[in-house]
Amino acid sequence: MSQVLIIGVDGLVFASWLFLVSVGLSLIYGVLRILNVAHGSLFAVGAYSGASLVVAYSQAGNWPWGTLLALPAAALAAGLVLGPLVERGVLRWTYGREPVVQLLVTFSVFLILEDATKLLWGVSPYYAYQPYQLLGQVHIGGIDYPAYSFLLLLVAVVAGGGLWWFVRRTRFGRVVVAVIHDPEMSVALGVNLSRVYVATFALGTVLAALGGAFTAPMISVVPGIGVEVIVLAFAVVVVGGLGSLEGAAVGALLIGLVRAAAVHLLPVLELFTIYLVMAAVLLVRPLGLFGRVEVRRI
């Protein structure tokens, strides 16, 4: 029983992290139809901004709980600066070209951002452990968990819920849904497509940066942390179905729980669980669990 509980908790925590880092990717794909390979770099930029803000804030000797606010603030700033920059500066020139070309363009953006972070923040690691230490431990089922993990869960729920509310309940969100379903018709009805694209890409970037910022206190922030994130995020999004927000949540849960189970029951498989789940889902449902079938052009 206790093992089931541990697997459940571990899986939930890992799933919330996966959801945070992948939901932005899915959102951007849903609206812009571009698979953003640079997503991992946006994550890394978020991690660096979060870590450096926390370090600067703590060294100034401020109110310690403020570090928890510094993380989302840094992510917001990083996303709102970088998102529009990448979309207006690069991506908008590729709309309407082959998906493969768009993939290569975002790959170039990834290469540029990887080195930009090195030039901006240097190559020595950043440690932003303050928020992690601050929250201490909680005791569940005879095991001590860092309370920070549950903060991650909370952040994922808030981010997911907020996104759901934005898409389903606000006017702009409904415009976004319209664009997802039929960009051409939306334009005919007076939707400003470039505004929707910029806003969506900025939102996706903020989400990636948010994932990075809240990851920063758990790791040492070093060059290269963004590289693996893109692979993981893609796996999650593909399992759920590209472009589906519910799919990202379900995909993250599925992969998180399976990985937690593997860690405790079959440690050898840990590294491969994500790919195994992805391959298994794609074999049964080539478009993912929530993927929509698209009409093929003749």
Binding site: T94, V100, L104, V105, S108, L111, A116, L119, Y275, L282
Partner: protein, 313 residues
């Protein structure tokens, strides 16, 4: 195409002489570039069918490790045996992986191939006792045609081996491009539904291209391993595959001489960039790729090709 063949022969001749004339470090670099060029050809073959693989590192690394194991486990030293062994392993692996990925297109294909190469990367890192983990394994100096030398002369032998393999691969890919299978692959890129309606087996064409690409990537991997004398899991990392895609785009997707020239330019540029701007060279690569994609969609080779066509007309 007669004149194209003559040009190619002339290039091989010049490069054969260059092996003796050029300084050692440049010969080493050229060998690396040839090995990479062969692997880039595998990306070119797939791009012909409209597919971008971000996982050619899978075959690149698998073949390199296969050669390494054959040398250490069975004591094989003969490069003319090691190369086929590596290529065979890569093709076999491609035959299995291809069964799954040949059904997918676009980004799904790109990311699935990426996932498979990352699985191999994970295996190579984890199976420490067999693969040496992240340290990789050392590869002894090979012999070519029973001739075994040490030091610089051994390098020269590998250079000529790589030159021969590259020329052979270039010929093979050119022939493939002119064969029905190659033309059909092109048609699949343009509109796969129409190809299916015409009665051609789309998935089999893609599978065939994938097999050819696996073999080529494997050949590049073996040559790299023999030249460098060391293999490590980084060969299977997705940035290795990304590099191959980069060179293919640089040289002009779909062009054989473009891909090979691109590989040489890339290797030379990279070795200098590494030395003078270690933290900014990826950025330069990215910027160069953006400029090429946005302003010169045919790649660096396309002005040459246009000139060539005008000459022939």
């Amino acid at each position: 195409m007669r004149r194209g063949g003559l040009w190619a022969l002339a290039a091989v001749g010049v490069l054969a002489v260059a092996g003796v004339v050029l300084p050692r470090w440049l010969v080493f670099l050229l060998t690396l570039a040839f090995a990479k060029g062969v692997a880039v050809l595998s990306v070119v073959v797939l791009m012909r069918a409209g597919l971008v693989s971000f996982g050619q590192g899978l075959f690149f690394a698998a073949a390199a490790y296969a050669a390494g194991f054959a040398m250490r486990g069975w004591g094989l030293r003969e490069a003319l045996v090691l190369v086929p062994v590596g290529v065979a392993v890569a093709v076999l692996l491609g035959a299995v992986v291809g069964l799954l990925v040949a059904r997918y297109r676009d980004i799904f294909f790109a990311m699935l191939t990426l996932a498979f190469s990352m699985v191999l990367y994970g295996v190579l890192i984890k199976a420490y006792t067999v693969t040496g983990g992240s340290d990789g394994i050392r590869i002894p100096t090979p012999s070519v045609l029973g001739i075994s030398r040490a030091g610089d002369e051994a390098r020269l032998l590998v250079y000529y081996l790589a030159l021969a393999c590259t020329a052979g691969s270039a010929w093979l890919v050119t022939r493939y491009a002119q064969a029905p299978a190659g033309y059909l692959a092109w048609a699949v890129r343009d509109n796969e539904v129409r190809v299916a309606y015409l009665g051609a087996p789309v998935n089999r064409i893609v599978y065939g291209a994938f097999l050819l690409a696996s073999g080529l990537a494997g050949l590049g991997g073996v040559l790299t391993a023999l030249n460098v004398g060391h293999v490590d899991p980084g060969l299977s990392y997705w940035t290795t595959s990304g590099e191959l895609v980069f060179v293919a785009v640089l040289g002009g997707s779909g062009s054989v001489p473009g891909a090979l020239a691109g590989a040489v330019v890339y290797e030379v540029l990279r070795s200098y960039a590494f030395k003078y701007a270690p933290y900014a060279w990826q950025m330069m690569l990215g910027a160069a790729m953006l400029v090429i994609i946005l302003f010169l969609p045919g790649g660096l080779w396309s002005p040459v090709e246009r000139w060539w066509r005008r000459q022939q007309a």
